[in-house]
Symmetry: C2
């Protein structure tokens, strides 16, 4: 078996891959959420000064990337690679945001699992000896996502109780081989899991089986249990998906939930902000990881975190053609010890 | 500098990463092209027996992947990772084709550069010690691409002389650390290059500057010149882009063109098949690499090949909003010597 492979889905880093810096940029609604003060920049203007929401999303990601580079004290040209993606058709936010920076670019599509996918590949590219530093990033925008996946905002469509609110947010991390803690120590790469759910207004239910599959593989591959982590963070399962995930582990006879946080439940105040089942979108866990979660680790609130982003692999075409919605979840371990 | 890094964009493999098997599946028009006999399977039915063109594309890729696994004599479960992507919104062909195979999956978006992007990451994941074997694949379908990016086929839109014909085709390669030649020895990862071109019917012109940027970086990083390769293959520049690429190298004072082939010019007979500037799409270079090109290497027609796939990073939304079209090109070296 390959030297760094721990099992069917997990690999461990042989050296130290740390986090040189991180930045989070969000929209105003996210800034008003319970952890809004952790974000580096909150734009009250959902257009970010641009002429369209797609250009706004591009602007937001570019700003976030530049902030992360600035905090790391590096020029973008110091990066060996940028790994990133988003939800827009043909991932234009990520491509257009990076078109001027002249860094080798790997475009990814993992739906809302993209932040963990980009971290996985960035960590492996550093640990494998292919570069010294790499950026991992992702973003989403409520307005560009709504009109692409659902209805024009002007239509004022009703939202079902299981619906989640796409976060307007971006997160960018600069990883490095000689960067400080927290270190990425393990990467568990998800398989596509299709539980047969067809309701495009219930992303939590479609993604929970994928999160369960990946987390279960992680525990099996590493010999660890949920109790070995100070915190296990899922991407954007929201209220419905988080409950489903706990139920799936309960069915396995595994105690899960006490140290579980979900970014979809953290990002908004569901009582006050009318977001139904919670937040979602690539930018949800990306912006919280780059702010609240890494700050919590650096402050030693958590010493070991399992971060599992989750994505629903649908398009409007696949749903219109009656397809069910497969999910995928990628996980990485952040550890204050190497 | 990272141990395997040769320069700003190129890395070399420290061990041998070979090609265990490859498979190509195409539509009927491609089968009638000059090299149609090299494809493993040609479907006369553009629906591949399915109810929609998107399902057809999914079917084609799945069939191609299964053929590649079969030729390698492995079950999909033997693969450490699958890397792949396509042109459809949210890359549904790749996700849906792989939803039953239960292998850790990294979804990519590199437009028509995806085949080289997937090969790059698959080779690095093996060489880095993260897995023993990985699949790299990509696909496109003329009918699903036309209706998504341009017009419904029933509309019968006129095509401009610079337009290219999206290939209905899939290519899948199984790479392995103990697989035979040809070996992937170098990976040059592209930067996003925007030459300011806005004509969505002239992909060749948008991609040529990206191909030039990546190939130039490759030569600079490795100290090689075009003459060090038996053949330099670009993805789908077509007639316009191929001429532009040669002109760009000519401006540099670099002799380029004698050993250059372009998959967009190889796949169809432009005299006979009415495809204007040539073929295009992720599946164009994917299907030719997996058949004609690797066969040519195994038969020692070429001993060293530089394979540079090229992508145009546009969406209908970006073009409707007046954006120019950035391009990207990723390159990998196949060598019969390790």
């Amino acid at each position: 078996m390959a030297e760094k492979r721990l099992g069917r889905q997990t690999v461990c880093m042989s050296g130290k891959v740390g986090v040189l810096s991180s930045a989070a940029v969000t929209g105003g609604k996210e800034g008003e959420g319970p952890f809004g003060k952790y974000f580096d920049y909150v734009s009250e203007d959902s257009y970010f000064g641009e002429a369209s929401w797609e250009k706004a999303e591009t602007h937001m990601l570019k700003q976030c990337f530049e902030l992360a580079c600035g905090k790391a004290g590096i020029a973008p040209s110091a990066l060996g690679y940028i790994f990133g993606g988003d939800l827009l058709n043909q991932c234009i936010a990520s491509s257009f945001a990076m078109r001027d920076c002249k860094v080798p670019f790997f475009g990814l599509y993992g739906a809302c699992s993209t932040m963990a996918e980009s971290l996985s590949l960035a960590a492996m590219s550093i640990d494998g000896g292919y570069c010294d530093m790499a950026a991992a990033q992702s973003c989403s925008h409520f307005c560009s996502a709504e009109r692409q996946f659902r209805f024009p905002l002007e239509y004022g469509g009703q939202r079902t109780p299981t619906a989640q609110w796409t976060v307007t947010g971006a997160g960018s991390l600069i990883l490095g081989g000689s960067a400080p803690a927290p270190y990425i120590t393990h990467v568990t790469t998800g398989r596509i899991v299709d539980a047969g759910i067809c309701d495009a207004n219930n992303m939590g239910a479609t993604m929970a089986p994928a999160a369960h599959d990946t987390l279960r593989a992680h525990f099996e591959d590493t010999g660890r249990s949920p109790a070995d982590y100070d915190v296990i963070v899922t991407g954007d399962l929201g209220a419905v998906g988080s409950e489903a995930l706990c139920a799936l582990f309960s069915r396995d006879g595994v105690k899960f939930g006490e140290n579980h946080l979900d970014c979809g439940l953290l990002v908004f105040d569901r009582e006050r902000q009318d977001v139904h089942a919670g937040g979602s979108g690539c930018g949800c866990c990306a912006s919280l990881l780059a702010s609240l979660l890494l700050t919590g680790m650096r402050e030693r609130k958590w010493k070991r975190m399992l971060f599992a982003a989750t994505g629903a692999l649908l398009s409007t075409t696949s749903s219109q053609q009656g397809e069910s919605i497969p999910g995928i979840s990628h996980a990485v371990v952040f550890d204050m010890e190497g």
